[in-house]
Symmetry: C2
């Protein structure tokens, strides 16, 4: 039997954040409960960004307050700065369940980083190291995602050396894991094999790896399989491939949870996800959104 | 540098055969010329089936009569029986250019084979061997595709042993190549690695392998990359991801030429296809059809 994988369900955050519609807090919580029912054990549930910047995430604290208090599920909040870590910590005050883990993000491109978070790579490294230290001091688990690791919408190529040197600096702070994200869906399997192969050598099993793919150019599932071959065991995915905005033709979603599970199930790789239940959850949420989601497996089912 | 691949453009046959619209002979010929312009050197241009069964292919002889007479392009006609081989031969009579190669098809499932071609596996093997011998005697190149090799819409699992024993029998007739087709798009990369790995051992370099994938469940491009890893160097693809299969419930189109080329280009694998020209050809043909084609790369471009 092959080694099992863990799927980090990012639909409630990366998915909904990039949809045109604003989904109500109640609908978000119903979605999260459906995800737990189909087997999700790690989930990005919110992003601590300014509500003016990302109105879809304005109810972060309300969503978190409504999460089921289940010991076997880890809730992750995206934190883009120290203020985000403080908001994550605040959700735990007064003995409340709150957020279990902070997800930090650093962009592997000066241009994209400045547009996205107002910081160069060097500034991002300094800020992220500071955030990781702060979270650790406060007793909050924290991991980090290196985004645009496979290419930048503004600069084009992102060198593997750039990504690996960022990873090396961050590894010094001992984050819970280091993820590489193909934020704009330009990567190909050969690149995934190379980059995760080298990251694996760098981290030498000391810090787990995670991967995050978008299916913008049809390579998302191929990249996930290549990542598995390179030793990655944690995969971001979103139910239905949420995150493709129907009003922005070039925007596409994360790889779909169902498509990833289909491939892994049929390759003898355990995912802990009940595929039939995920397909049903997709269809129920498609009713909420009022349109079909991109997952090919659900469309074919 | 990695070993180059050859793309067999199946849009004019497998693509158009499975579209609802009937495309005019003139539009088909314009499409074929655009494909040659973007670099296609092998193409399925027609199917010699009964026009009542597949009305989209009723103009097979007219399309073939209009093909550009180019020495560097190989034209393939699909032949499902000896009558098909005879029709292929007839296109060459009187010194005409005609068809360069017959493409035979055998289904690796008794139930699907009976529905698709009215024959069991055993009957298909006998018929195909007879066709291959007849084509050889008449001086016509012929290859064979084993369809439903990764799963059957009616029987479910198709055993690797079944596929390999069919291949072994056909190999005795020395066809120009043997292809495995995932006709309904159920295959996963681990299965592709296994099946093509074993086929490669069986054929031992004596007969080239070809692969044919559909992207019904999101695994088409991942399967193509796995096939490359297993030593396959010829890949079926259709411009834009045209097509499906009218006799296979819920099947969707072939992997898109543009998506395959994007992945291979960015992996350092030469394809001989000009991606920008293929994207332009997709857009021009989408105008003819009056709707967008599925290729993700063209949508993202």
């Amino acid at each position: 039997m092959n080694q099992p994988i863990e799927i980090l369900e990012v639909g409630p955050r990366d998915g909904l954040q990039n949809e045109a519609e604003i989904v109500s807090t109640a609908d978000k919580l119903a979605l999260i409960e459906a995800m737990i029912d189909y087997g999700a054990r790690r989930m990005e549930v919110a992003s601590f960004v300014h509500p003016k910047r990302v109105p879809q995430m304005a109810d972060a604290e309300d969503v978190i307050a409504g999460l089921p208090d289940l010991g076997h599920v880890q809730y992750i909040g995206l934190t883009l700065n120290k203020r985000g870590i403080m908001r994550a910590l605040a959700t735990r005050e007064g003995g409340k369940r709150g957020i279990d883990q902070a997800g930090c993000v650093i962009v592997a491109s000066d241009t994209f980083g400045q547009k996205n978070q107002g910081q160069t790579i060097a500034e991002g490294i300094a800020e992220t190291r500071d955030m990781l230290r702060f979270a650790k001091a406060e007793g909050l688990s924290a991991q980090v995602t290196i985004s645009a690791a496979f290419g930048c919408p503004f600069e084009g190529e992102v060198k593997a050396e750039t990504v690996l040197s960022i990873a090396e600096e961050l590894a010094a702070e001992d984050p819970a894991e280091i993820a590489l994200a193909d934020t704009i869906g330009v990567g190909v399997p050969a690149q995934v094999t190379d980059l995760f192969g080298r990251l694996g050598e760098l981290l030498a099993g000391r810090i787990p790896m995670r991967c995050h793919f978008h299916d913008t150019r049809g390579t998302g599932i191929a990249n996930a399989w290549a990542a598995y071959g390179a030793g990655v065991r944690t995969f971001d995915a979103s139910l239905g491939g949420l995150g493709g905005c129907p009003f922005a033709p070039r925007a596409t979603g994360n790889i779909a949870t169902e498509d990833l599970v289909y491939m892994m199930d049929n390759s003898g790789v355990e995912t802990n996800i009940d595929l039939e239940a995920a397909i049903a959850a997709n269809r129920a949420f498609a009713e909420v959104l009022g349109r079909e989601l991109p997952s090919r497996v659900t469309r074919a089912a």
